[in-house]
């Protein structure tokens, strides 16, 4: 009667919610009422189970379910137990209340009660209460009824799973169960054995014979007909036994020997075309491939797999692929036999089949087919929506593709790759992802692939690649346990002895040796190495050798110094260099001048020249940064330090990973995917050598290329495509004979490559276009030779500029030290001033055009010249500042107008004669200050009430946010008078918009390396991105390239042509700015300007 409960619930789905809530309320009242009979309670429990299945909260009834099991008669108890097993899980506290009931029922004389108790125990039982029932259940193993014995065994299996220690003492009883006269009891005991053998196969080898015998009997049909399933004898039992045999025979020839016959028989017997026979066959094949191989059996198993793979039934095909995946590493030729089927499965409409195929391909991935396979995986990834699948696949792609592609990139790109690429690669490897296990897998994969690469004796790898290899080997080679560190050391040692290795690379290798030595105990190679290099002519090497020697003598220190996987640990660096305090104090004691930081010196210099400095200090933006609500700003010095001290030692390598941490994966993974442009470039430059790079491009370009029809006319287009794909996928797999199964595999591959090259040329054209444009952008800057200077000087200036633009202050300082000395020796004296200026100059003024006072102006002025000067018409059209007064005296006034022409900053200085008489010999001098060259403009005479002007073209050479150009004017009136003035030049004066398309922006963005990020607060007036950007556009002359949603990209250039790109994003009242430029100082300067603009507006 209780079973009818659902009827009232189902027919009106719309009202179901209401009905069930009503039902639950009434149930709640009924179960807690004291008058409720057990019979009614049983009814209630059935309804409750139903409600809970529909997803409604019914925990109020749990306790009543236990009561029902406790107190009810058989039927009520049955429902009570069922409800308990459905409601509770094995850790539920209420379960303890059930123990007494179970104990009582186990002792019952009623078989049905005993069965119920055993059934519930086999499903859920509190672990800590096992001792209370264990003796009772052990007794049941001797019960006369097989159903009781069977359930008892099953209960023990449950106990073994949740508390293996508690059932250890009854292992011999398991053996008894295995030999039970009832096949059901024996089958139940196999669950326990399978579990135990899984955990420790060597302990049960002696049972192999018994299992084989049982299987023989089963296969031979000796079991009661009851156990048949669709006339196949006891298939579940067979499969269980096959699994056990697989575990026992694994890597054990002697044990495997015992089972060959029965496996052969199993294969033979499973002939009926029914799912259940395929189930057995599948298990059989798996066992055959798991145990110690026997070729005869393997052959049969392979045939069997073929049946699966070729079956039109999709389930069997799936299992065929699964089996192939399982056996592929042992027998890659099998995949070759079925390659066409595999190709078909790759485009199967069922994503599950596709995925299994990818799994299979993943196993056969090698250097030659990695690109195509990864492409296929990516295709799948794009369609897939399921999170787990994506995570899984992405991990695989990363593993396969990342290391191998990077290997290709390094070996092909060689030393021309941008230093950031290896740095980023190493950082990715070191920082890893979220999953520790996957990280280690990736690292191990890297180590193994590098060891394999180093295995090739005569191979020559680019220095950068060798550096990456040695870093990875040093850091992670200890993850790979099956390789003797001595072997790795030998390889590194032989590398060190090669003459082609640069000394920088040698440093990396030495660092790796040191790291490996710190994990290994004493090593002959290390000793030998120390000996050899202690006498090296290379001081760095000698230093390393000595360090290594000392570290080897103190292993504890060594381990402390070089902890495993310590590359990501933040190093505490005493940036204040406090350990030098003593040294400094000593120096000061001896009368040395105290150290002044650069900006202080600069200020002092400025203030020496002017009594009061009303201009903001050029380099004071650090403080203004902090005042503008800075979050997560990286110190610019840290940044440049990190990138400039390229790793000569392992320690610097560490620092690099630390300081640059803020930049993430982004550089490798641009918005459109992995930095493809850069690879293109690499591919282009080394096209003839690389196959893999080319086909990667082909893959990226899209569909598998079509064959030319004149080549293989007999095949349909589709088939040809498939064949091509097959040849690309299965390249490098198995023997050549296997490949030639494809017939024209070789030619097909060739064509594939050829086609891919077409793509490649296209892309490389793009790349070279881009390169050209880049070159033309940078070109003038680097090669600018002052027109009015001699060649020799020009060269020096170019060199200096290069240094100051491309690299850091440190490098430049060095240069600044060297050049004057060398020049003093070589150059004639008259060149000296220029050179000295240029090394420290802030502004280049290489192109000075002197406008001689025009004769026309004179005549014009005679008619009517306004005293407040104005620009000539041609200049008036250009953007320019207001004309401002620089200084004036009674006789003369100086006005300035900045004209921002497209290619420079023009300073127009107007000299206005206020007197009524002519002024003679007016000299305008831009002072020979720290940053500027002196120039003198002479105006022999300035007529009365007349204005003369001169024009000075200025470029910024070394970047600063603000600079001061001072000068003076002197003239003869009654006496010699001198007027001083100063012109403040801001970085913005030298910034021009740079027009480009979004696409070009993307390309350029990826190619740039110096970046600075900063979040700044937006005031309420600038709440919209476009408003903010247009402010920036107006004030800073940035070009807005594109605005997409809450992101905007802008581009500008520092004259003459240093690009700087800006990426803005708004989020919750903040504006995230991200600058990139080839010049490291430019982003900092621009950021400062942006902040200023934002604050002002």
């Amino acid at each position: 009667a209780g079973g009818r409960s659902g009827r009232s619930l189902t027919p009106w789905p719309g009202q179901q919610e209401k009905l069930i809530q009503q039902e639950l309320t009434s149930l709640k009242a009924t179960v807690s009422a004291p008058t409720t009979t057990l019979r009614l309670m049983k009814e209630c429990m059935v309804r409750l189970i139903y409600c809970e299945m529909l997803g409604y909260e019914s925990s109020f009834g749990y306790i009543h379910a236990i009561k029902l099991a406790q107190q009810g008669n058989l039927l009520e108890k049955r429902v009570g137990y069922l409800a308990v097993s459905l409601f509770l899980h094995e850790n539920h506290e209420l379960l303890l209340l059930l123990v007494n009931t179970v104990v009582k029922d186990l002792q019952s004389t009623n078989l049905v009660e005993v069965c119920m108790a055993l059934t519930v125990v086999s499903q859920i039982f509190p672990r800590e209460m096992i001792p209370a029932v264990l003796p009772l259940i052990e007794d049941k193993l001797q019960h006369s009824k097989e159903i009781i014995r069977r359930k008892a065994v099953q209960a023990l299996y449950k106990f073994y799973l949740i508390a293996p220690n508690q059932v250890q003492h009854i292992h011999d009883k398991f053996r008894k169960a295995l030999c039970d006269r009832d096949a059901g009891v024996m089958a139940a005991s196999l669950h326990i054995y399978l579990q135990m053998i899984k955990e420790n196969s060597s302990g049960y080898k002696d049972l192999t014979g018994s299992f084989v015998t049982i299987l023989k009997q089963v296969v031979g049909g000796k079991l009661p007909i009851d156990f048949n399933y669709h006339s196949v004898p006891a298939p579940w039992l067979q499969i269980q036994l096959l699994r056990i045999l697989g575990l026992l025979g694994k890597d054990d020839p002697r044990t495997s020997e015992l089972m060959y016959d029965v496996l052969d028989e199993s294969l033979r017997r499973a002939e009926i075309n029914h799912n259940i026979t395929y189930a057995i066959l599948f298990e059989c094949v798996q066992t055959i491939y798991t145990i110690y191989p026997k070729s005869e059996l393997l052959e049969k198993a392979a045939k069997c797999i073929g049946k699966f793979v070729l079956s039109p039934k999709i389930n069997l095909k799936y299992l065929g692929l699964k089996a192939l995946t399982y056996v592929i590493q042992q027998d890659p030729n099998l995949a070759l036999q079925h390659q066409m089927t595999i190709i078909e499965c790759l485009d199967h409409p069922d994503p599950i089949i596709k995925r299994e195929t990818l799994e299979l391909l993943y196993r056969i991935t090698n250097g030659q087919n990695v690109i195509v396979i990864v492409q296929k995986m990516l295709d799948y990834l794009k369609e897939s929506k399921e999170e787990y699948a994506i995570i899984n696949l992405v991990g695989k792609i990363a593993e396969l593709w990342f290391i191998q592609t990077m290997n290709a990139v390094f070996s092909v790109g060689g030393d021309v790759v941008h230093p950031d690429i290896p740095n980023n690669f190493l950082r990715l490897l070191a920082e890893g992802f979220d999953d520790r296990k996957e990280d280690d897998q990736l690292r191990m994969y890297a180590v193994q692939s590098y060891l394999a690469l180093l295995e090739e004796e005569d191979a020559l790898y680019p220095q950068k690649f060798l550096q990456v290899m040695s870093w990875v080997l040093g850091e992670y080679s200890s993850l790979v346990t099956d390789v003797d560190p001595e072997v790795i050391l030998t390889k590194l040692h032989s590398l060190l002895k090669k003459t082609v290795i640069t000394s920088e690379t040698k440093m990396w290798i030495m660092a790796a040796v040191t790291k490996i030595a710190s994990h290994a105990s004493c090593s002959k190679i290390v000793d030998k190495l120390i000996q050899e290099f202690s006498n090296s002519l290379d001081t760095c090497m000698r230093q390393y050798a000595f360090e290594l020697k000392h570290l080897c003598e103190d292993k504890a220190l060594m381990r402390n110094l070089l902890p495993f996987d310590g590359s990501c640990n933040d190093m505490v660096v005493d940036a204040s260099l406090s350990f030098l305090d003593g040294f400094v104090a000593e120096g000061l004691g001896r009368g040395a001048a105290p150290y002044k930081p650069h900006h202080q010196r600069q200020e002092e210099k400025l203030s020496q020249e002017k009594a009061l400095n009303f201009e903001p200090y050029g380099l004071s933006f650090v403080s203004s940064v902090s005042s503008s609500g800075v979050t997560g700003r990286q110190s610019p010095t840290g940044l440049s330090f990190g990138s400039d001290t390229s790793g000569n030692s392992a320690e610097t390598g560490h620092k690099e990973t630390n300081t640059l941490k803020l930049e993430g994966v982004r550089r490798l993974w641009g918005k459109e995917g992995y930095l493809p442009k850069k690879e293109n470039k690499v591919g282009k430059e080394n096209e003839p050598q690389t196959v893999s790079c080319g086909s990667l491009l082909a893959g990226q370009m899209g569909d598998p290329p079509a064959l030319r029809s004149d080549q293989v006319a007999s095949l349909s287009e589709e088939d040809k495509e498939k064949q091509q794909l097959a040849s690309t996928l299965f390249i490098g797999l198995g023997s050549n004979a296997g490949v030639s199964l494809m017939g024209k595999a070789d030619t097909a591959t060739q064509k594939f490559k050829r086609k891919s090259k077409i793509n490649e040329t296209q892309s490389s054209e793009e790349a070279s276009d881009f390169q050209d444009s880049a070159a033309s952008d940078f070109g003038p800057l680097l090669d600018t030779v002052p027109i009015n200077m001699e060649d020799c000087e020009g060269n020096i200036r170019t060199r200096l500029r290069k240094a100051s633009l491309c690299s850091s202050d440190i490098v430049e300082d060095n240069l600044a030290f060297e050049t004057p000395q060398s020049l003093k020796k070589s150059g004639p004296d008259d060149r000296l001033p220029d050179i000295r200026l240029s090394q420290s100059s802030l502004f280049a003024d290489s192109n000075i055009e002197i406008f001689q006072p025009s004769r026309n102006a004179q005549s014009e002025s005679a008619s009517k010249t306004p005293l407040v000067p104005c620009l000539s018409e041609e200049l008036e059209e250009l953007t320019h500042s207001e004309v401002v007064e620089l200084c004036q005296s009674d006789a003369l006034a100086l006005y300035l107008c900045k004209v921002w022409t497209d290619d420079s900053l023009l300073l127009i200085v107007f000299v206005s004669n206020k007197t009524t008489s002519a002024l003679n010999a007016v000299n305008l001098v831009f002072e020979e200050a720290e940053h500027f060259q002196s120039t003198t403009y002479q105006f022999p005479v300035i007529e009365a009430q007349n204005v003369e002007r001169c024009q000075k073209r200025v470029w910024m050479d070394k970047i600063c946010t603000q600079g001061i150009l001072s000068g003076s004017v002197n003239y003869q009136s009654e006496m010699e008078t001198r007027l001083e003035f100063s012109i403040t030049l801001s970085l913005v004066d030298f910034i021009r918009p740079m027009e480009m398309t979004t696409e070009d922006f993307g390309k350029l963005w990826l190619s740039l390396s110096n970046d600075v990020k900063q979040n700044i607060k937006m005031s309420s007036s600038q709440d919209s991105l476009s408003a903010t950007l247009s402010t920036l556009q107006q004030k800073l002359k940035l070009h807005i390239v594109d605005i997409i949603g809450n992101e905007g990209i802008l581009a500008c250039q520092l004259l003459p042509s240093v690009p700087c790109l800006l990426h803005c994003r708004t989020h919750s009242g903040m504006l995230a700015l991200w600058f990139r430029s080839p010049c490291s100082a430019l982003p900092d300067g621009l950021l400062y300007q942006c902040q200023k603009v934002m604050e002002e507006s």
Binding site: R7, E90, Y157, F227
Partner: protein, 154 residues
């Protein structure tokens, strides 16, 4: 086996049996997602699914989907046969079973399942033995009913 679910073509859960301890919330989430996933599959597609970290074996009988979650090394085909055997048992017990039988007698369906699969492992593969065990318990029901009726008459 980790769990078994029976649900209708409309996505209504008809039976659930969990062999691994999971919280109610997790169970609900798994059920909801899995039902969606399976219902979205086309009839010609294969009966196996790699879903999350589980392997799902499912089969549709008339309006009901039977769905089992197994571990990776388990045999998919034999799991399909487990489902089939369970359907056979239900069919034999109810006499050409239909969805309504399971809705209205779902506790019976559970009893049969518990007699066939115990703790996620196949307990009894013989159809005869399973049904014998069920009938024994059911018989008791009638015996008791009779005795109750008798006592009422007296």
């Amino acid at each position: 086996m980790q769990f078994m679910l029976l649900f209708s073509r409309q996505g209504k859960l008809r039976l659930q049996k969990w062999y691994v301890p999971l919280s109610d919330k997790e169970k609900k989430k798994i059920t909801r997602e899995l039902v969606q996933t399976v219902l979205a599959r086309k009839p010609k597609m294969c009966s196996f699914l790699e879903w999350r970290d589980l392997k799902i074996v499912y089969k549709r009988y008339a309006s009901l989907y039977f769905c089992c979650a197994i571990e990776d090394q388990d045999n998919e085909l034999i799991t399909l046969e487990i489902i089939h055997r369970y359907v056979e048992l239900l069919d034999k017990y109810f006499g050409s079973v239909c969805e309504l039988d399971i809705i209205f007698n779902f506790e019976k369906a559970y009893f049969i399942l518990d007699e066939f699969l115990l703790g996620g492992e196949v307990q009894e593969t013989s159809k005869k033995n399973v049904l014998k065990a069920i009938e024994q318990a059911d018989l008791l029901q009638e015996v008791i009913l009779r005795s109750v009726l008798r006592s009422l008459n007296v």
